[in-house]
Structures are given as C-alpha cells and as structure tokens.
C-alpha cells in the first residue's frame, strides 16, 4: 500500500508539473517545472526497482540536459518573466489531439492490461534483487547482449556532438 500512496503523490506531482511545463508563460519556469517532472519520474524508477536508471535520470537529465536547456534559454534571450507569445494559434487543435490520443491510449491500455499486477518484489531478498535487476545486471547486459547497440549509440552521440558544433559554430 505505501508504494501506492507514493505512486499517487509522485504521479500527481509529475502530471501537474508536466502540465505547467506546457502551459507556463515563463520559459525559465518551464525549465524548472521540467526539473520537477524529471525528478518525480526518477523517483518512479526507484519504485520500480530500477535504481541505476533513476540515478542516470537525475544525473543526465537534470544534471546535463537541463543545464543545456538553460543555456539555450539564456542564449536565445527570451523575455525573462512572463511572455504572452509562447503559444501558437493551434492550441485548441493541439488540445483536442492530445485528449483524443489520451482517450485512445487509455482505452487500449485498459483493454489490454486490465488489472494486471506488477510482480510483488517485497518477498524477494535484497541480494537476489540486486543480482537479478540491479546495476550489475544492467551493466552486464549492456556490455554483452546489447554491446552493438551500445556502440552504435556512442557513435550517435559523437555524431550529435559534431553536428551540434557544426550547426552552432559562428563562421
């Protein structure tokens, strides 16, 4: 039960914060709300017994990506403070699309998974849990089963790095 309560709080916070991200009129606030969303999502990972992902979420998202965003915001010099022109004129279309999509997705999910329970991990010993799905297991998997994708991702990162430099360079 406690995890359900935790989930409820986290989900509520995440939803509200996410809503603010897409509705706030202040760009800097949006970035800060995003921090909240990302953090709660990280917490949700913990709930799902995925600590390593949670850590990565905090480190990379909040530590790196968000800083990038803030840089971006600063560099493009938007009005710090409220700005009425952040939304375009198709908000209604967007809203309807989003809600429609949500409806369809929820229907499908409820239809497909119904009230299927996640396996209760309470009974599993801490050691077993770590061995099965802990950081070590994840590391093993990355460097054995998923080695090729991992390398591909690294190349991708490199390409993105080069690309970003090429794009942003003043010449």
């Amino acid at each position: 039960m406690p995890e359900n309560i935790a989930f409820g709080i986290l989900a509520l916070v995440a939803t509200l914060a996410a809503l603010r991200v897409v509705t706030t009129r202040n760009v800097v606030h949006a970035a800060l709300y995003l921090v909240v969303v990302l953090a709660t999502v990280g917490a949700l990972y913990v709930l799902l017994a995925a600590e390593f992902v949670a850590a990565v979420q905090i480190l990379i998202y909040i530590g790196a990506i968000l800083v990038l965003f803030l840089f971006g915001i600063m560099l493009t010099r938007p009005t710090i403070g409220t700005d009425t022109g952040l939304d375009n004129d198709q908000r209604w279309i967007a809203g309807v699309t989003g809600l429609f999509l949500l409806g369809v997705l929820s229907f499908v999910l409820v239809d497909a998974f119904g009230d299927e329970q996640l396996p209760d991990l309470g009974g599993v010993s801490r050691e077993a849990l770590t061995a099965e799905r802990g950081t070590a297991a994840v590391g093993d998997a990355i460097f054995s089963t998923y080695l090729v994708p991992f390398e591909v991702v690294s190349v991708l990162l490199l390409a993105a790095l080069v690309g970003a430099i090429v794009l942003a360079r003043r010449d």
Partner: protein, 102 residues
C-alpha cells in the same frame, strides 16, 4: 501495484508532451515537450520490463538508458538548430519557420 498505473501515467505524460509539441511556439519549449514524451516512453519501458520478469526488466532498463542517451544527443542537436534559427531570424518562433512551404 497495477501495471496500468505506470502505463497510464506514461500515456498522460505522452499526451501532455504532444500537446506541448503542437501548441508551443518557442523552439526551446518544444524541445522540452519532446523530453516529456521521451520520459513517458521510458516509464513504459521500465514498467513493462518489470512486469515480464527479471530478464525483461534488465532489457527495459537498458533501453531506457539508450533513450536517455539519445535524448541527450537530440537536445544537443535540437538546441544547436534553435540557436541557428535564432541567429538567422533573431527569434525562436516556430511559426515563422516555414521553410517547408516550398
């Protein structure tokens, strides 16, 4: 815990992200909305993974990591593009970016 708790939360975040992508005018904010979408996907990956047992759980986590990595790359390139647009047009307003209108 119901698996649907996570999945539906993912769906909600996803749809909020979609809304943001469609409704926001500021390039940076659109990128943020995309992050929301990616996070929604990540939640799904982890939740479905842990539903299927230990092996799948690991797979889900690994893929989540990949997504995070790719998200980082995407934000990097995306922001570079936004910067470039800003430099050329002195604005990050996507309504003005209609180069695809041939």
């Amino acid at each position: 815990m119901l698996v649907n708790q996570f999945l539906i939360l993912g769906a909600v975040l996803f749809c909020i992200g979609v809304y943001g992508v469609l409704a926001r005018r500021n390039g940076v904010l659109v990128l943020m909305s995309i992050e929301l979408i990616l996070n929604a996907v990540n939640i799904n990956l982890v939740a479905l993974g842990s539903l299927q047992g230990p092996e799948a759980a690991v797979a889900g986590q690994v893929f989540t990591l990949f997504v995070v990595t790719i998200a980082a790359a995407e934000v990097g390139v995306g922001l570079a593009i936004v910067l470039l647009i800003y430099r050329n047009r002195a604005s990050v307003d996507l309504d003005e970016v209609d180069l695809m209108k041939g």
